[in-house]
């Protein structure tokens, strides 16, 4: 022991190592438990975001221009396809309006103000992402000034992509649903199997190889077919009910061969999106 204590270099290295690990532990715990970042972090992130927004503008404009040219090439085919859909859409719109009215009347009768399916949206753009390969975090240009709060669900295109993990005044961080972060909040989801039955489960992980989300803790997967649509269930108090997650692709056994895992093909491309919608649930959580 005396020999060890006399070796100053080794002692200093050990102390530095312990301090470093303590710093990271405290910092990661703080990040996971606090509702909002501290003042210094907010100021720092908001200042850097101003630079990001300014630099991002010409890059997005060039990229948007290239995408517009690509879209123009497909316009003719797309136009024909959409013409066929117009008749259907008009009919669906009328039916939708009637259902909305009916829904409102029923709510009024039951004296219900808001339900789990009610939500507002804040639209934002992605300005940056974490430049390493493993932390699935993107930064968007909307923050607490737009009413965004931690844990709100985020959609892109037709489907769910993740949730808000940090809110600054003018920017927010979105942790993608593909994250392997062990302390990340998971989405409670459900799917309608037939007229009466639903399956419930939790989006637990993401399979890189297939690009599918894995639904675990499914109570009873009987009757689940390929193509069954999976939505958020609204349970858990964070996200509203009815946000599309994806469709059932395959049912397989877990790595221990004990329980079934439902593979879900995401409704949107989880690696290529530039506009996102933050979902503000109207019914308060717990």
């Amino acid at each position: 022991m005396k020999k060890f204590l006399r070796n100053k270099k080794l002692l200093v290295t050990l102390v530095v190592l312990v301090l470093s690990l303590t710093l990271i532990t405290v910092s990661v715990t703080w990040k996971n438990t606090s509702d909002s970042p501290n003042f210094v972090q907010k100021i720092s992130n908001d200042t850097v975001a101003i630079v990001s927004k300014v630099v991002n503008w010409p890059i997005s404009a060039i990229k948007g221009g290239a995408a517009t040219v690509a879209d123009l090439m497909d316009t003719y085919e797309e136009n024909n396809h959409l013409k066929k859909k117009i008749d259907d859409l008009a009919q669906t719109k009328v039916r939708n309006t009637n259902l909305e009215d009916e829904n409102q009347q029923l709510k009024d009768t039951l004296k219900m103000k808001e339900t789990l399916t009610d939500y507002d949206m804040v639209v934002g753009s992605v300005i940056s992402r974490s430049p390493n390969s493993w932390s699935d975090i993107v930064i968007i240009d909307q923050g607490s000034n737009s009413g965004i709060k931690k844990n709100m669900a985020v959609m892109a295109g037709n489907g769910l992509i993740g949730r808000i993990v940090e809110v600054n005044h003018t920017t927010s961080k979105v942790e993608l649903i593909t994250t392997t972060n062990k302390s990340a909040s998971r989405f409670a989801v459900e799917g309608k199997v037939n007229d009466k039955d639903y399956i419930h489960g939790i989006i637990n992980s993401y399979e890189d190889k297939t690009g599918n989300l894995l639904l675990s803790q499914v109570e009873d997967e009987k009757g689940v077919k390929n193509g069954t649509k999976i939505y958020t269930s609204g349970l858990g108090g964070q996200s509203p009910k009815g946000l599309l997650v994806g469709t059932v692709k395959k049912i397989s056994k877990d790595s221990f061969g004990l329980s079934n895992v439902v593979q879900i093909k995401p409704a949107t491309n989880l690696n290529n999106f530039s506009v996102v919608s933050v979902i503000i649930r109207k019914v308060a959580g717990e």
């Binding site: 940056s128 430049p131 975090i137 062990k182 690696n271 290529n272």
Partner: protein
């Protein structure tokens, strides 16, 4: 220590390139669009290693490393400890070995690539240990080290002259 703007040009350039890293990574990944592969961009790391190779005797670089690391950690990860510890550690290591490294393009490229690989290994350890991400060895190589090394070679070749000229012309608190 007087505050002169010329001393702060390199730190500002490093911070700016750190911000660009995230933006380029996002745009390049969506252009490549090959599954879940994220294109890792380490423009700041290249500049930082070159700064320490060109002036290996400036002890103030260690404070610069802490400052840059803190800002980038808060910006991208939301917790302190990845860049915040790695950059000062690399400053210390490069100071020890810089005298033995020839000042040629190729030798400096090799040094940057070694630091790049170490950065991936460091993240692999930190992220797995603290549960920030679960990274497999296969993922470390194919999604981390390999794309990172390829991108770094390209970026180093494109920006080498810019960085070296900037660092020599506007050294950090050194006349």
């Amino acid at each position: 220590m007087t505050i002169k703007f010329k001393y702060w040009i390199v730190p500002i350039a490093l911070l700016f390139s750190g911000i660009l890293d995230g933006m380029f990574s996002y745009h390049l990944s969506s252009i490549v669009n090959s599954g879940s592969l994220i294109v890792p961009v380490n423009l700041m790391l290249i500049g930082f290693v070159l700064l320490n190779l060109v002036y290996d005797d400036n002890v103030l670089h260690i404070y610069l490393a802490f400052g840059l690391g803190l800002i980038l950690d808060l910006l991208y990860l939301g917790f302190v400890g990845a860049n915040f510890l790695f950059l000062p550690l690399m400053t210390f290591v490069i100071r020890l070995i810089a005298k033995a490294i020839p000042t040629t393009f190729f030798d400096r490229l090799m040094t940057v690539l070694i630091v790049d690989v170490l950065w991936n290994l460091y993240q692999f350890f930190i992220f797995n240990f603290f549960g920030v991400a679960s990274i497999g060895v296969k993922s470390l190589f194919f999604e981390g080290i390999l794309p990172s090394v390829i991108v770094t070679i390209v970026l180093f070749s494109l920006t080498y002259n810019f960085w070296v000229n900037l660092i020599i012309k506007y050294p950090f608190y050194r006349d």
